[in-house]
Every structure is written in C-alpha cells, then in structure tokens.
Amino acid sequence: MSAFVDLKPATWTGIAAGFFLAAFASDEPALGGGLLAAELALAAASRRLRAFLAVLLAVLGPVAVSLFVIHGLLHPGAAGVAVGPLWVRPAGLAFAARTLGRLAALSGAVLLATLAIPPGRILRDLADRGVPPALAYGLVAAVRFVPETRARARRIIAAQQTRGLPLNGNRLRRLRALGALVRPLLLSALVEAEARGVTLELRGFWVRPRRPPAESPAERLIRWGAALGGALALALGRLVFG
C-alpha cells in the first residue's frame, strides 16, 4: 500500500492520463463505472479515499442534478412516459447516467493526480525531466498563487465596500461596480508579475542543470503502461463501438 503513496508526480500523471483517455473509449455506462471503481481503489490504496470522495461529490453533485432533470424531462428526440404530473424520458435518463459516469471517471482521473502530487515535488520532478523552466515554474507558481489572488480579490471587495461602493442592486449597478473591483486586482497582479520576472532573471532562471530523476523501472512501467493502455483502450473502443 505504501508503494502507492510514494509514487512520483510523473507516474501519477501517467496514471491520470490513462484513465482520462480510457473514459472516451466507449459510450457504454459500464465503462465509466468500471473506471471510477478502479480510481476509487487507487485512491484507497494511496490513503486518499476520503478527500477523493468529498471533492468528487461536491463537484459532480450540481452537475448530476442538472443532467437528470434536463435530460430526464427534455432530452431531444426521446419518447416519454407519464410519471404523475411529469413526462419522463427513459432514454434521457440513460443518457444522463452515461454522461455522469464518464464525467466521474474524468474528474476522478484529475483528482487522483491532484491529491497525490504536492506542488513542490512537481517543480523538482519537471525540472529534473528537462521540461522548460518557464512551463514548470508557470504551473507550480500558479497553483501556489491562486489562493493568494482569491484572498486579494476578497480584500479588494471588502475595501471598496467600506468606501461605499454598492455591490447589490440591479444588474447595471453591479456591472458598474465590476470595474472598480477588477482594475485594482489586475494592476496589483501586473506589478507582482513584474517583480517576479525581475527576481527570476536575477536568480539565473534559465541556468538549471538537468539531473535524470532516480526512479525504479517498475515505476516507469506503471507510468507508460497506464498512459499507453488508456490510449490503446480509446483507439480499440472507438474502433469496436464506433
């Protein structure tokens, strides 16, 4: 079990890519369910099942409601049956279930990678593999910078509200308030970007020796096996099921 906890970021990315591709292999509802079951098993093996389920339910809950209501009642071209005052379309419900299964498999693939990879490890791993520093830094710094920017947005909203900016009322009034909130957020972010650029330059950002990452052949096999397996499943699934 602990072997799964210690897998490298690239290996989790390979596993997630495999699941992501395989989710498009067929429209059969069993595929989404099967992939999700495998993802749940991996989340449990890496001791992240609780967080995995919590995020998945929070993300897919509203989508599931919309899917079943809209397609259950309005799915185009499907015949309906009367259920009390409603005209329910069984083909629409099946479509909703199929779509939800695929979405769950896709979201689960992203979540597997998200929960398993700490940002600090991604940067080291990407740099060691020779990924351009700009891309590696961009991805990792963005992950770290998002909560900070959201907090800054909330501070700007509170500050402007204190100064008397009306944030409620009709749509036109709220739209007018948008400029007063977005402008300081953007300008402060641009100043920050300039400072970051200068710091990167001073630190010799582009001079970064490449060190081949130390990893076992088994881990390489898992990574490439999962990614290629997903691609193969997608190709075969589309050939067989159309």
Binding site: L111, V146, L178
Partner: protein
C-alpha cells in the same frame, strides 16, 4: 548573443507573468461570483498575456489556467483547456493587428473571439458534459431544448449568447488595463 539575451529576458518576463495571469483568471471569477453577474470573465488574464506577450504565450496561459483550475477547484474544467488555448491564440493574433489600440477596436475583437470560443466549446460541452454545467446557464439550455432544438444546437446557441457578451467585456477590461500601464511595462515583452 544580444538577440539571445533579449529573447531570454522576454521569456523570463513571460514566465513571471504566466502564473499571475492564471491566478487572475480565477480571482476575477471570485469578484464576478460576489456581484452575482451572469458572466464568466475567466479569460481576462489569458487575454492580457496574449496582448502583452503574443499568441503563443496566450495559448500556454489558457491551457495552464484550465489545468490549474481543474487541479485546484473544478476537475471538470480540464476538457475546456482546448477552448482556453484557442482564446489565448486568437486574442494574441488580434492584439498583433492592433485591436487594443482603441476601445472601438477591442469590442469587435472580443465579439469575434467570443464567437470562436462558442464554436470550439459547444461540442465539448455537448459531448463530454451532456450540455450542462450545474450552473445557471443550464436554464438557457433547458429552455432551448424545450423549444425543440437538438442538444448541440441548444448548447451552441447558449454558448454564443453568453460568450459574445463575456468576451466583449473581457476585451474592454483588458483594453482599460493596458491603457493604465506605464510605457516601460511593455518594454520587457517587446520582441525586438
């Protein structure tokens, strides 16, 4: 050597801007949510990078934004990385033609980008998500389906209705910000 040094400096400036722009895309969403406006405005950072540093930087920002959004907040955002990439690319190309020189040029540029974004995102929304997102826009899709439209047709109509306004406003915001920046800010991103 001088060319390489300029190129390196420009790439470093873009590298400093990328994560900030990605975070801005998500931060502006926070403001829009607080104001309860029927908009996304989730491409402001992408368009800003594209305007400052060109179409390829815009494309990378778009892809990174949706990946980070998918990783941090909403795993379902990842498939729309394609749309975000196209928005970055198109707005960078339009910026190269000088559309951020005046608001009346930025407005049609935003409308055109919105149309392209709608055409690219509608098949993804229809095929991957069944045309719903779990948000308020689902009501528009429901109304169009009830009116007899097919799924792709309904999602495309909804996307055009929302993306045209959204991207026009995004371009106007970026135009306003660019006009508030000191000229020296643009020096770091200049290509030659």
């Amino acid at each position: 050597m001088a060319f390489l040094r300029t190129w390196e400096r420009r790439l470093t400036a873009v590298a400093g801007l990328l994560p900030v722009a990605v975070a801005v895309n998500i931060g502006v969403g926070e403001v829009v949510a607080r104001l309860q406006l029927p908009l996304y405005l989730d491409s402001v950072g992408t368009v800003l990078v594209a305007a400052l540093a060109g179409p390829w930087a815009g494309l990378v920002t778009g892809v990174l934004s949706n990946l980070v959004w998918g990783l941090l907040l909403r795993p379902t955002a990842a498939p729309f990385a394609v749309t975000a990439a196209v928005i970055g690319l198109v707005s960078g190309l339009l910026a190269g033609w000088g559309i951020f020189g005046a608001w009346w040029k930025a407005l049609p540029g935003g409308l055109f980008t919105g149309l392209v974004a709608a055409v690219v995102s509608a098949p993804i929304a229809a095929y991957v998500f069944g045309g719903v997102t779990g948000g308020g826009y689902d009501l528009i899709v429901a109304l169009l389906l009830a009116g007899g439209q097919g799924l792709l047709e309904a999602v495309l109509t909804q996307s055009i209705l929302t993306d045209l306004v959204d991207k026009a406003l995004t371009f106007l915001i970026v135009w306003a910000v660019l006009h508030n920046l000191p000229p020296r800010y643009f020096e770091r991103f200049r290509r030659s």
